[in-house]
């Protein structure tokens, strides 16, 4: 498992700890890397890549590693973008839509209840449609936006992966996560890597990350 680190990423250790808690091993991949050797899945973690200057993800998408991530995704490799990583994937056109500033123009840091909408993505393949998961959010630009044609194709192709039960940020149709056509590239604003221990409020992230890693959620 590789965790991509951009200048300004700040959730890379959370991602590694979560991955290791599920019994997998993780390595950091610096944003200047041009190859992804020896990894069978990639996570783009949360944070503020390149300071979020211009727009979240706008500069990061031009990092050398993103060409390798695009090749890895095109070959069917599982790619997960969490929060800022989701923003990077949309800017890179590896996922549809865009993430705008939250409706209320406030930074949101709170638990949310997500409802699983599709299980055809690598993130939700071990979950059940309709299953509710408690996962925290921590973002300023998390309002999922797309035009009507894109929205129609998301619905038609079953690419809406997770929805908020109560919409916190103005996302279109309560969307919290989407995947690409093949389901191997997924982005979500909530942080499943921060929901792997009941002691910290929720372990519902295990179902998502366990599915993504192809490992049991509870060893």
């Amino acid at each position: 498992m590789g965790v991509v680190v951009f200048p300004g990423s700040n959730c890379e250790y959370d991602a590694v700890i979560a991955v290791e808690a599920l019994g997998a091993t993780a390595t950091f991949v610096w944003h200047t890397a041009t190859k992804l050797d020896g990894v069978d899945a990639i996570i783009l973690p949360g944070g503020f890549a390149h300071g979020d200057y211009l727009r979240p993800g706008a500069i990061a998408r031009f990092s050398p590693v993103m060409a390798a991530v695009a090749d890895f995704a095109a070959a069917g490799g599982p790619v997960l973008g969490i929060c800022n990583g989701f923003q990077v994937l949309t800017e890179a056109s590896l996922l549809p839509g865009a993430l705008q500033k939250n409706r209320g123009l406030t930074f949101l840091c709170q638990p949310t209840t997500l409802v699983v909408s599709s299980t055809r993505s690598v993130l939700t393949r071990e979950a059940q449609v309709g299953q509710e998961l408690s996962i925290p959010i921590n973002h300023f630009s998390g309002s999922f936006t797309c035009d009507d044609d894109t929205y129609a194709s998301l619905v038609e192709n079953d690419q809406i992966v997770l929805r908020y039960r109560e919409n916190p940020n103005g996302s279109r149709d309560d969307i919290a996560a989407v995947c690409n056509l093949d389901g191997n590239v997924v982005g979500l604003m909530p942080h499943p890597e921060r929901a792997i221990s009941a002691l910290l409020g929720s372990e519902d992230g295990r179902v998502l990350l366990g599915g993504f890693l192809g490992r049991p959620a509870f060893a």
């Binding site: 949309t90 705008q100 409706r103 123009l105 936006t145 035009d147």
Partner: protein, 84 residues
């Protein structure tokens, strides 16, 4: 020649603009009335060294569409302000 270019980036019509809406709601409290359709955006100024104005605009347009704006939700207008 050096062309001074202005690029204005704004949200596409129909895309919700919470920043513009918040500014608009604040205006009556400051005594400004009759103001509507407030849209927030960004402006970028830079110089382009180029053989012709058309070439400078074309370069700036490509830059604006590839980096300065996200075409999924934003539009951009490129204008040459001066040359020397």
């Amino acid at each position: 020649m050096i062309f001074s270019v202005l690029v204005e980036v704004s949200l596409r019509p129909g895309i919700a603009d919470p920043e513009g809406a918040t500014i608009e709601r604040a205006l009556p409290a400051l005594g400004f009335t009759g103001i509507s359709s407030v849209r927030a955006g960004k402006a970028f100024r830079f110089d382009v060294d180029s053989g012709s104005e058309a070439e400078a605009v074309s370069t700036a347009q490509q830059l604006a569409e590839r980096l300065l704006s996200n075409p999924v939700i934003e539009q951009c207008v490129v204008r040459v302000e001066s040359s020397r």
